[in-house]
């Protein structure tokens, strides 16, 4: 298989049980099983992970940075969604 035909995979690592998988980087592989082994070799040489996810880059649907203003805009003018919007007297303890 020529290099151009290799598929791009995104690699996600869980550094410790109980934590989320985090994006670590990407790599080329011929299939998902290979991608998993390559990810182990490339991204966990210093015990960075206890679990690896690989996902075909093509399968990721991402929001566009350029559109982010209008995309995320609806939550900008809603300060009442934050706890700090409400004044709670000290006497009643943390809430």
């Amino acid at each position: 298989m020529s290099l151009e035909k290799l598929e791009l995979f995104e690699v996600f690592l869980r550094s410790k049980r109980g934590l989320d998988h985090k994006h670590a980087g990407s790599l080329h592989a011929e299939d998902k099983e290979q991608a998993l082994e390559y990810a182990r070799d490339v991204y966990t040489r210093r015990s960075e992970g206890v679990s690896i996810w690989v996902v075909k880059s093509d399968d990721i649907c991402a929001s566009q940075e350029d559109d982010s203003d209008s995309f995320f805009d609806p939550s900008d003018d809603k300060p009442y969604r934050h706890a700090t919007y409400y004044d709670i007297p000290k006497e009643v303890g943390t809430m």
């Binding site: 869980r14 679990s51 969604r81 934050h82 706890a83 409400y86 006497e91």
Partner: protein, 322 residues
């Protein structure tokens, strides 16, 4: 995986060792069937509670006394729907389909928090629900952030972060009413009286009566017992009631200096079991409404699948043309 070549007993020993050393269990790990079942029961019940919990407050969106209060309430109800989705998704990591979970809710096989079978009657109830019902839920959820199942724990962390405003907005409603006219103050008192005891019931039966508690504690699905969590809530709520200048609904409540906590009156357990078993004021209405909304939404799901089909057919046509 190598793990799966071990015997059931060995696998269970490894599993319990993970639990005992405070490691999270993740979806692909081996787990005892009873652990999985217990989690599905608790997590789906939690998810159902979020979704059914939208009804009593949703009912007041059109009746909120100002535009600001309407937007706040709308945001809160929207959050509850979102939290239901987080929890359904986390439950699905255990290998059960969303449709099965919804079917169990609608048939009455699965439960949800009984508190939502009490009707919301006045604007004061919007205050009492946010303050007491969300307050009790938060006490429980803070504890569940340390639950042994990874996806549930992470869901709880996210939910707790988002939920902090729910209780505060409720308390602000109560403060406004308590400082208002005598009628408004009476409304606050009435809401407190009706929601205080059901809020205490949210923590479930006494530890000695709780069917699932012992196993759940051993597996660290639950981290604190029903009674311990309830005590926390009683202690934190007492000064909040005093600050409002309202009368405490529990006439037996006294501070116990020696124990460093309040002694309190007994809950009406007969009422608790009656409501759980379907005889609360709003049980039938809540499920009927859920079924109705689900059925009336069928055309949206149909439209989505028709659109998907149309799109993939177009792609096929374009590909053959090219």
């Amino acid at each position: 995986m190598a793990e799966y070549n071990k015997s059931e007993a060995e696998l269970e020993a490894v599993f319990q060792q993970k639990i005992d050393s405070e490691q999270k269990i993740e979806p692909k790990d081996w787990m005892p069937e009873a652990y999985r079942k217990n989690l599905i029961r608790q997590m789906s019940q939690h998810a159902h509670s979020e979704v059914i919990g939208m009804q009593p407050e949703g009912n007041f969106i059109t009746r909120a006394p100002s535009l600001r209060r309407k937007t706040v309430l709308l945001s809160k109800v929207q959050d509850e729907g979102g939290h239901g989705l987080y929890l359904y998704s986390a439950t699905e990591t255990l290998g059960i389909a969303r449709s099965e979970l919804i079917a169990a809710l609608q048939s009455g096989e699965a439960k949800y928090a009984s508190i939502f079978n009490y009707p919301a009657q006045t604007w004061g109830d919007m205050g009492a629900i946010g303050w007491l019902v969300d307050g009790a839920a938060i006490v429980n959820q803070v504890s569940l952030q340390r639950t042994s199942y990874g996806p549930y724990s992470r869901g709880m962390i996210r939910i707790c972060k988002e939920e902090s405003f729910h209780q505060r907005q409720g308390y602000v409603i109560m403060m406004e009413l308590a400082k208002g006219t005598p009628e408004q103050k009476q409304m606050a008192q009435d809401s407190l009286n009706r929601f205080y005891w059901p809020a205490l019931m949210m923590f479930g039966p006494h530890d000695s009566e709780s069917a699932h508690s012992a196993k759940s504690m051993k597996w660290k699905i639950k981290r604190e017992t029903n009674d311990d969590l309830r005590q926390k809530f009683i202690d934190q709520t007492a000064p909040q009631i005093a600050y409002l200048g309202l009368e405490h609904p529990d006439k037996d409540l006294v501070w116990n200096e020696e124990k460093g906590q309040h002694d309190s009156g007994e809950i009406d357990w007969e009422e608790f079991y009656a409501v759980i078993n379907g005889n609360g004021h709003s049980n039938r209405q809540r499920i009927q409404h859920h079924v109705k909304a689900h059925e009336e939404g069928a055309w949206v799901r149909d439209a989505m699948s028709a659109y998907k089909q149309k799109k993939s057919q177009r792609k096929i046509n374009a590909d053959t043309a090219a």
